[in-house]
């Protein structure tokens, strides 16, 4: 239970950091703000890309920025529902 909640919370935190930075943040500050080891961050980062919650954009100078996709915004909106449901039925 704790593990699953922790995992959902971390995903929510990462997405929330991106949103609160006007939906555009570089990978290094995102790693710093998320308070995780590089290895752990990379695991979550790859999962979020794979799930299409975030995407990588490049500006004209080729710098990488991370932004939320519609699915990422949806997750933030529904986060409380997911958490409530998981808790209610011990999933």
């Amino acid at each position: 239970m704790q593990k699953k909640r922790e995992r959902l919370e971390i995903i929510n935190d990462i997405l929330d950091i991106i949103r609160s930075n006007n939906n555009s943040i570089k990978p290094t500050p995102l790693l710093r703000f998320s308070n995780m080891s590089t290895q752990r961050f990379n695991d979550y980062y790859n999962e979020l890309i794979e799930k299409e919650f975030i995407r990588e954009d490049h500006d004209k100078n080729g710098r990488k920025f991370i932004t939320l996709t519609d699915k990422g915004f949806q997750f933030l909106q529904k986060y409380q529902s997911i958490l409530g449901f998981v808790e209610e039925f011990d999933l």
Partner: protein, 230 residues
């Protein structure tokens, strides 16, 4: 007691099926977004319980409809009866195994890749056993064995268990009332009034799950809105 006219039995079955179908599909559809976003295996199995129970109850209804239509003087085809029995056996085993997976999946550190295929294969094997024996009682015995296994697992792992008593009871009741429903197939063994009681309790179990889900989601939505507006 005087025998009940088949039309009354049919009417009660219609009401029962509609109630179960609305509740099962309601639970399945209301959790669609939650699963799509979280992709949690436990939610996947939880939703499958209600999808497969809906299908099992639907074909149970078709099966009983064929039986009752012969009581009302219509000719029924034996082949449809056998088909109905096999489909009910397949979907109900899938539902029961989904309950088991909901209970067990968190205890398995890495879920096997093809666990879902394994569930389908197990259900097909059981379907073959029902086909060969031609008896749903055999199916009920297998389901009781799965129930016993799930119950023992829950009891053995009670220490530090993530399952609240409420959820344990709900899952066990779902099992028990399905098995009673299976025995109802041998109509004539059960009195009409007893049948109505079983139907009412079965619907109450599904309704309690649906209401808990609805309440939780409503509260969560409110909480989410307040949080997002901050």
């Amino acid at each position: 007691m005087p025998p009940v006219h088949p039309i009354w039995i049919f009417g009660s079955e219609v009401v029962y099926f509609i109630a179960v179908a609305i509740l099962c599909l309601g639970i399945y559809l209301r959790t669609k977004d939650i699963y799509a976003l979280s992709r949690l295996k436990t939610i996947f199995h939880f939703r499958n319980i209600f999808l497969y129970f809906f299908l099992a109850y639907a074909f149970r209804f078709v099966y009983l409809f064929i039986l009752l239509s012969s009581d009302l003087g219509f000719r029924s085809l034996m082949i449809f009866q056998i088909f109905g029995m096999l489909v009910v056996s397949y979907f109900s085993t899938m539902a029961i195994l989904s309950v088991l997976m909901t209970v067990l999946v968190k205890r398995i550190s890495t879920e096997r890749k093809h666990v879902n295929i394994l569930l389908h294969i197990s259900s097909i094997v059981l379907l073959a056993v029902v086909f060969v024996t031609g008896s749903l009682y055999v199916l009920a015995i297998f389901h009781i064995a799965i129930l016993a296994f799930a119950a023992i697992t829950m009891i053995l792992k009670r220490k530090g268990s993530h399952f609240s008593n409420q959820n344990r009871i709900t899952y066990i009741l779902l099992f028990i009332f399905w098995i009673i429903n299976l025995f109802e197939f041998g109509r004539g063994n059960v009195q009409f009034i007893t049948q109505l009681g079983v139907h009412a309790i079965s619907v109450a179990i599904f309704l309690s799950i649906y209401l808990r889900l609805r309440k939780r989601l409503k509260n969560a939505e409110k909480k989410g809105k307040t949080r997002n507006n901050k």
